[in-house]
C-alpha cells in the first residue's frame, strides 16, 4: 500500500468541532497530493468511514463525545496511520505507545501539519509495525478498570457496559463476548481483556473463560476433580483448578 506522487494520500478528518474540521480542510487544500475522503464529527462516523472508505491516514481528535480518539483506534483493526490533533497535551505519551505518526497541539501553523503529513507518507511507504487493537487496549491508563467494552461489527460500533457483559470466551485469535443473549467478536486476547476488567466482578475461571460473577448460578462437581459453573442463563462453563481457587477467594 505505497503512496507516492501519483496516488494522492487518502485522509479522513475526525473532530467533533465543525470549525476545527474546516481549518484542517483549509490547511490540507494547500498541500499537494492529498485527498480528503471523509469528514467525521464523532467516533462512530469515523469507524464507519474507515471500514467503508479505507483512508490511509486519520487526523484524529481525542476529546470527542461517546467514543474518544483512542477508542476509535482500538476499534479500527486496519493498518491506518494516525495523527492526533488535540488541544490537550496530556495524551502524548499514550499516543507514542500506540505508534501514532504525530501529535499536533491546537492551534498549530499549516507548516506543522505539512511536516506531520510527510512523516505519514514515509511511514506508509515502508514496512512498519501497525497499531493493533491489542496494542491500543494495552496502552490504556492503568488503574481504572473498563466501564464498557467496545466492539465493532462491520461499520457499526457496539458499546457494552460491563454490567451487561455475561461472559468472555477465547477463540482462535479473537474473543467472543456474550451479553444480553447476543454474541460479539473482538480482536483481542483474553488475557489482555481480563487484565482490564474489574477483578472484583470478572474472574478468569478457565484458560478460555472469563465470567461475570453476578451471572454465576451454582458450581457443580462434574467428575472426580473437575468442576463446572452453571450460569443464571443455564449455560455451563468448565472451571480449572486455579479458576475455582480464584472464585472461592472472591466469594
Amino acid at each position: 500500500m505505497a503512496s507516492g506522487a501519483s496516488n494522492p494520500l487518502r485522509v479522513a478528518i475526525v473532530d467533533d468541532e465543525a470549525l476545527a474540521r474546516a481549518l484542517l480542510r483549509e490547511y490540507l487544500a494547500a498541500l499537494p497530493d492529498v485527498e480528503v475522503v471523509a469528514e467525521c464529527a464523532n467516533g462512530f462516523e469515523a469507524v464507519r468511514a474507515v471500514a467503508e472508505l479505507t483512508p490511509e491516514l486519520l487526523l484524529l481528535d481525542i476529546q470527542m463525545p461517546k467514543l474518544d480518539g483512542f477508542e476509535v483506534l482500538e476499534l479500527i483493526e486496519r493498518d491506518v496511520a494516525v495523527i492526533f490533533v488535540t488541544a490537550y497535551d496530556e495524551h502524548a505519551i499514550r499516543a507514542f505507545e500506540v505508534h501514532a505518526v504525530d501529535y499536533l497541539l491546537k492551534p498549530f501553523p499549516p507548516e506543522r501539519l505539512a511536516q506531520a503529513l510527510e512523516r505519514a507518507r514515509a511511514r506508509l511507504g515502508q514496512p512498519h509495525q501497525a497499531a493493533t487493537a491489542e496494542l491500543v487496549a494495552a496502552a490504556r491508563p492503568p488503574g481504572v478498570p473498563l466501564a464498557r467494552v467496545l466492539v465493532r461489527e462491520g461499520s457499526k460500533v457496539h458499546v457494552i457496559p460491563v454490567e451487561k457483559l455475561d461472559l468472555v470466551e477465547a477463540r482462535d485469535d479473537y474473543v467472543c463476548l456474550r451479553s444480553g443473549g447476543r454474541e460479539y467478536r473482538k480482536q483481542q486476547t483474553l488475557a489482555s481483556l481480563a487484565a482490564r476488567l474489574d477483578p472484583a466482578r470478572f474472574v478468569r475461571v478457565h484458560r478460555s473463560f472469563v465470567v461475570n460473577v453476578e451471572r454465576l448460578g451454582r458450581i457443580e462437581l462434574y467428575a472426580k476433580d473437575s468442576r463446572i459453573a452453571i450460569l443464571t442463563d443455564g449455560s455451563r462453563i468448565p472451571l480449572s483448578r486455579a479458576g475455582y481457587a480464584r472464585l472461592r477467594e472472591l466469594l
Partner: protein
C-alpha cells in the same frame, strides 16, 4: 478556659510566685501584729496557699468586667466589690484557722491576739486580690491577641485558596486553546467573525480576571460574563449548543460572589454539550423567591453515560464560596432526571455577610 488552671505549667509558676507573697504576709503579721516569727509563719503560709486558690476565682469577675466591653468605672466598681468580698472571706477563714491553732499549746494565745492582725489581713487580701486580677487581665489579653492572629492567618489562607481557584477557573487551558483554534479556523473564510471572536475572548478573559478580585458583584454582571463565555463556545459547537436565558429584572442588582455562575455554565457545556453527539440546550434562570434569589442551570445529560470523573470539583468550590459568603442560608442542589442535569443555587437577596 481559665488562663492559669488550663495550663499545668502556668499553675505551677503561679503557685511558686505565691511563695514570696506568703513570706511577705508572714513578715507583715510579725511586724504589725506582733506575732512571733513562728506564729506568723504558721498563720500566714496556709492562709497564703488558700488565698492563692481563692484568687484564681478572680477570673470570673475579670471576664465579666472585660476591658473591651465594659466602661472603666464599671470595671473598678466590680473589682472593688470582688476584692472586698475575697478579702473578707479570707479574713473569716483566717480567724477560723487562728482559733483552730489555739488547740496547739504553743499557739494558745493567737486567737485572742487576732484582732491586731485584722487590718494587715484585710489590706493584704485586697492588695493580693488586685494583683491576681491584674495577672488574669494580662493573660486574657495575651490569649485575645493570639486568637486574633490565628484568625487573621486562617482568613488569609482561605482568601488565597479562593483566589487560586478563581484564577485556575479563568485560565482553563482547554477552553483557551480550543477558542484560539476556532479563531484560526475563521480567519481564512470569515475574517470578520475571527476578529469578533478574538475580541470576545479578550473581553471575557479581561473581565473574569477583574471580577475575580472583587468580594462581590451584581448578578447582572455575573450573567453578562456567562453570556460572553457561552457566545465564545457557540462558535466552537455551532448548532450543538443552544442557550436559553430567563433572568428576572428584580434580581439583576443582587450581590453575588464573583465567578459563581461561571463554573456551573462551564460544567453544563463540558458535560452536556461537548459530551453529547447531538448537543442540546443550556438553560440559565434567575428569579426572586421571597427573600431568596434562586439561580438554576440546566443541561442535557446522557442517562447511560458514566458520571463525570470529578463530579464535584467546580460545584464544591461554588458550594464553599456560597457558604463563606452567606452562611447556612445558602444552598446548592444537584439532581438529574429525564435526561436533564439540574443545578440550583439559593441565597439571600439583600446583602452578603460581612461584606
Amino acid at each position: 478556659m481559665h488562663p492559669i488552671l488550663a495550663y499545668r505549667g502556668r499553675l505551677g509558676a503561679y503557685l511558686v510566685a505565691w511563695v514570696p507573697l506568703a513570706a511577705w504576709l508572714a513578715t507583715a503579721l510579725h511586724q504589725s501584729a506582733g506575732y512571733e516569727w513562728l506564729e506568723a509563719s504558721v498563720l500566714a503560709l496556709p492562709l497564703a496557699v488558700l488565698y492563692a486558690f481563692i484568687c484564681l476565682a478572680a477570673w470570673y469577675p475579670c471576664r465579666a468586667a472585660s476591658p473591651r466591653l465594659v466602661p472603666l468605672a464599671r470595671i473598678v466598681a466590680t473589682q472593688a466589690v470582688a476584692a472586698g468580698l475575697s478579702a473578707m472571706l479570707w479574713l473569716f477563714l483566717a480567724d477560723t484557722w487562728a482559733v483552730f491553732l489555739e488547740q496547739v499549746p504553743r499557739f494558745a494565745t493567737m486567737g485572742a491576739r487576732f484582732p491586731t492582725a485584722v487590718p494587715v489581713l484585710l489590706a493584704g487580701g485586697v492588695i493580693l486580690y488586685a494583683l491576681a486580677a491584674a495577672i488574669h487581665y494580662l493573660l486574657m489579653a495575651l490569649e485575645e491577641t493570639r486568637r486574633a492572629q490565628t484568625q487573621a492567618l486562617e482568613l488569609e489562607v482561605l482568601a488565597r485558596e479562593a483566589e487560586l481557584r478563581a484564577l485556575r477557573a479563568q485560565i482553563d487551558p482547554h477552553f483557551l486553546f480550543n477558542s484560539l483554534n476556532s479563531i484560526s479556523a475563521l480567519i481564512g473564510g470569515e475574517p470578520r467573525a475571527a476578529r469578533e471572536m478574538c475580541i470576545k475572548l479578550a473581553d471575557f478573559l479581561r473581565e473574569s480576571l477583574r471580577v475575580g478580585t472583587a468580594p462581590s458583584i451584581p448578578l447582572a454582571q455575573e450573567v453578562a460574563l456567562a453570556e460572553r463565555y457561552l457566545a465564545i463556545e457557540q462558535a466552537r459547537f455551532g448548532a450543538r449548543l443552544r442557550t436559553e436565558w430567563a433572568i428576572a429584572p428584580d434580581v439583576q442588582a443582587c450581590p453575588v460572589p464573583p465567578l459563581l455562575l461561571q463554573p456551573l455554565v462551564e460544567n453544563a457545556v463540558l458535560h452536556g454539550i461537548a459530551a453529547s453527539v447531538g448537543g442540546g440546550c443550556v438553560r440559565v434562570a434567575a428569579r426572586r423567591s421571597g427573600e431568596m434569589v434562586r439561580i438554576e442551570v440546566e443541561n442535557p445529560a446522557d442517562a447511560d453515560a458514566p458520571p463525570p470523573s470529578e463530579p464535584g470539583l467546580g460545584l464544591a468550590n461554588v458550594r464553599s464560596r456560597l457558604a463563606a459568603t452567606f452562611g447556612p442560608a445558602a444552598a446548592l442542589e444537584v439532581r438529574q432526571s429525564a435526561g436533564v442535569f439540574h443545578v440550583a443555587l439559593a441565597f439571600p437577596a439583600a446583602t452578603g455577610r460581612g461584606n
